[in-house]
Amino acid sequence: MQKKYTQEKMGITCVENYLIWFLMNQGFEVDKLYCDSYISIEDVLKDFSTGELGYENYQGIPRIQDIGSDLRCLEMEFCNNIGLETIFEHVNQDESCCLLAGMNPDFAKDKFNANLWRDDHFIYIYEVGENQIHYLNDTPAVDVCSDINEVKDYLNGTCILFKVIREIDENIFNKKMNILEKGINKYDSTTFDISGMKDIRSIRDAIGILRVSRKRLKCLFSNGSAKYYIKESEIFYKAINEVIFHLDGFYLFLEYCNLKHRIDFKKANVYMSLIKDSDMKWRNAIADYYVEGF
């Protein structure tokens, strides 16, 4: 494997995290797949305010695999009743293929003492030998080499196969970027009051989604080969780093409050205010960039 599997997660689900990692190792310009990842603070908070949505099921930002398929550069196939032999064939015969194997719910708990967000858990199997299997697990993020027998009983027979068909078509990508630019420029000065949200987990999940969104956008606009590369814009980088910094801090704060079953909304609103201000700064920087250039 060329790159270490880190926990700088740009995905919302484990499937997205594996796919992003796989694409990066294939030399694919994965940053461009973040072109549909903008969502306003107002929209995310409103979506989560009902208390019915969960982070892991949120659809306000399309999944990377769906964007890849939509841009016609990625092929995705779901398989059922797949056996170890078939997994063996796919993994060892086609390096341009990414195989995610579905695992029984007990797997993460038994192997890593981990509690997962959802029941459907996948591992990324990248090498299978006669007795050994090499795989990545997303939570916790580990690169494992183990005896096949220690894994095979947990396989639930499902798998997802990804294959890169081609690089992203520049025309389609540019259209997507035009839409993104208009979305970002849209006036968004949220007055949404999180104090009205009684479920701490809903606020945490909303902030978690915003955090992924802004990290992806930073990568997208930092992609040196893209037409939309924001070159040497101190204003943009300072502002987007600032919003990511505050989102990271607020996310931890909210999980801490969640575990303690209490929240100080005065403190929470300090974070929200900083997030709103810095979010507006980077969006203004983008707007200025396309109007005047830096």
Partner: protein, 88 residues
Amino acid sequence: MDIVSKIKDVIKESGCYLSNIKDEDRINEDLGFDSLGLVGLIVNIENVFDIEIDEFDLNPADLVTFGDMCRLVKKYVEGENQVGGMYA
């Protein structure tokens, strides 16, 4: 048992497989705790030391390595905690 050894014990009990934890080991990449795992770990540490960390001290930029974690806990155990920084 000293503070660092106790923290190492909590980390191991929380599912970390690293046998020899060093100051420079990164909580995320090396010890395997993502953001939510890190908070769970902090709450476990609080329980062991009978301390309560101020929420504003949970700044991911200041909690990168095992050494950072030890410094934060020592600040509270040794009674030098002060709420500060930009959020105070």
